[in-house]
Amino acid sequence: MTRLIARLLLAATRWLIGAEIGGPADPQAGRPTIYFARHASHLDTLAIMASLPDSQREGVHPVAARDYWGATPLRRFVAVHCLNAVLIDRAAGPGGDALSVVADLLASGRSVILFPEGTRGQGGIGKFKSGLFHLAQRFPEADLIPVQLDNVHRVLPKGSHLPVPLRCGVSFGVRLQRLDGETKEGFLARARTAVTWPRGVSQTGPVATP
């Protein structure tokens, strides 16, 4: 039953956003992957989950904020049961153990979807929090795949509840490499650039990021 609802939800998402799915990344089965994207809409998680091939979606867990997705039984049902999300406490603060559940998942070979901004931004991309950096350091075998989202924030912007049926782009970018001796700031800046979908490329696909 839950599986059926989940499939319907993902199919509805695909129909709504008419997703243009693309990108070079082809996540390798059996390897933990950290997908990361900018966060501007509640639809982001659904859009990414709906764009993953069925075979890969199984082992992927979106990381969601407990204060929102755990707030009502319906949201919790959608997040935890339909989308396999793990709920984390945003209030844990920097260096806190908010991401320990995420680390446990990666340690057991599963994959996660992370929004390094921590909260939905308005307009531009906000600063990336350090969680992505720490996870990348701790799990050097995990693939880091930026996901570029186009138009999703226009379909369901912050503060609205009804979606506008615009076409969206979901593109899985080139693996982000870890550079030896790179500072946290440098790494996060690169990660931030990797999820940017420049305007006007809806037709040609996003610019490949090194």
């Binding site: 008419g18 243009e20 308005q122 307009g123 138009n151 226009r154 912007p157 912050k158 609205s160 009804l162 506008v164 049926p165 615009l166 076409r167 969206c168 305007r199 006007g200 490329v201 809806s202 037709q203 040609t204």
Partner: protein
């Protein structure tokens, strides 16, 4: 509809033409070897496959009757507006206006056609929507790019909803005199002339095209293409006058107008695509691009054809 005298020969001619095109496509696929040529042929064959599907869908909608035809065009408007607004930037203050455009304006416009209320159909977008949507956006309070955002949404609605809805609006017309054919025949006439014009402009352009019509806007429109395609379309329109209340010269004249309007529609929408840095409006129709890439000429020809027919023949 099927007992309209000219309908069967027309249907037969379309099927023969498409079959011939399909066979030419197969032959070209075997003969052409250069990489660029192969790409053109692959696109040509995708276009031909899409033509079969589009014509089947349109014919099914027409045969199912007026209500189904109106719903069919409402869906086209929805998809066209979606393509337009997906590429055109709006702001976060436009959310309610966008919702209204999709879920209020489109159903209302086509419902008015369905019940035959011409008076409100003709002014809904230019009067009521013109007043309401910018007001909603102003109340939402975001002022950044306000003028441009309002103008974009208005243009999108005029193009994808108002102009396009003039095609099924032909079903509302009751021509005077002893013209007694089903109203869908005028719509069929319009669509055939527009699309024949588009197709033969493409063919003539590929075969003889030298002089570009507007080089900075689109490489695909040429003077030779326009003349060749226009000639075929005017001939087709004149032959098909049996679908309409027009005399032969009137059918030729109005076909010429459809050709010119359609060409200008393609040109205007190409200029917009250029401005947006996009090649096509969408990917829904294999080989063609989006709905708007196929319907751009209809959007410009339909309002002119509707109002001229209404003024002179009802």
């Amino acid at each position: 509809m099927i007992d309209v005298p000219i309908f069967r020969p027309l249907a037969l001619a379309i099927i023969l033409l498409l079959s011939a095109a399909t066979m030419v496509g197969v032959v070209l696929q075997r003969r052409v070897t250069s990489p660029a040529g192969r790409e053109t042929v692959a696109n040509l064959n995708a276009r031909i496959r899409s033509w079969w599907l589009m014509i089947a869908l349109f014919a099914a909608a027409l045969l199912c009757g007026a209500q189904v035809t109106v719903v069919f065009f409402a869906v086209l408007s929805f998809l066209a507006l979606r393509e337009f607004l997906s590429l055109i930037p709006t702001g976060s203050g436009d959310h309610v206006s966008l919702l209204a455009a999709f879920f209020v304006v489109i159903p209302l416009q086509y419902w008015l056609i369905g019940i035959g209320w011409y008076g409100l159909f003709a002014v809904l977008v230019p009067v009521y929507v013109f007043v309401t949507l910018p007001a909603i956006a102003a109340i939402a309070g975001e002022v950044k790019d306000f003028t441009a955002r309002s103008a974009r949404l208005q243009f999108g609605l005029l193009l994808a909803v108002y102009a396009l809805s003039n095609a099924p609006a032909l079903l509302m017309l009751k021509p005077m005199g002893d013209y007694r054919l089903p109203p869908a025949m005028l719509l069929l006439f319009l669509m055939v002339v527009v699309q024949v014009s588009d197709v033969f402009q493409y063919i003539a352009g590929k075969l003889f095209g030298r002089t570009r019509l507007a080089p900075s806007v689109t490489p695909s429109k040429t003077v030779e293409g326009l003349l060749g395609g226009g000639l075929v379309a005017v001939a087709a329109g004149t032959l098909l006058r049996g679908l309409t209340p027009f005399s032969a010269p009137a059918a030729a004249g109005i076909s010429l107008l459809i050709v010119v309007a359609g060409c200008l529609g393609g040109l205007v929408l190409s200029a917009m695509k250029r401005d947006l840095g996009a090649k096509d409006w969408g990917r829904m129709i294999g080989g063609h691009g989006g709905i708007l890439d196929r319907m751009d000429s209809v959007c410009f020809a339909a309002p002119l054809f509707f109002h001229l027919t209404r003024y002179f023949y009802t």
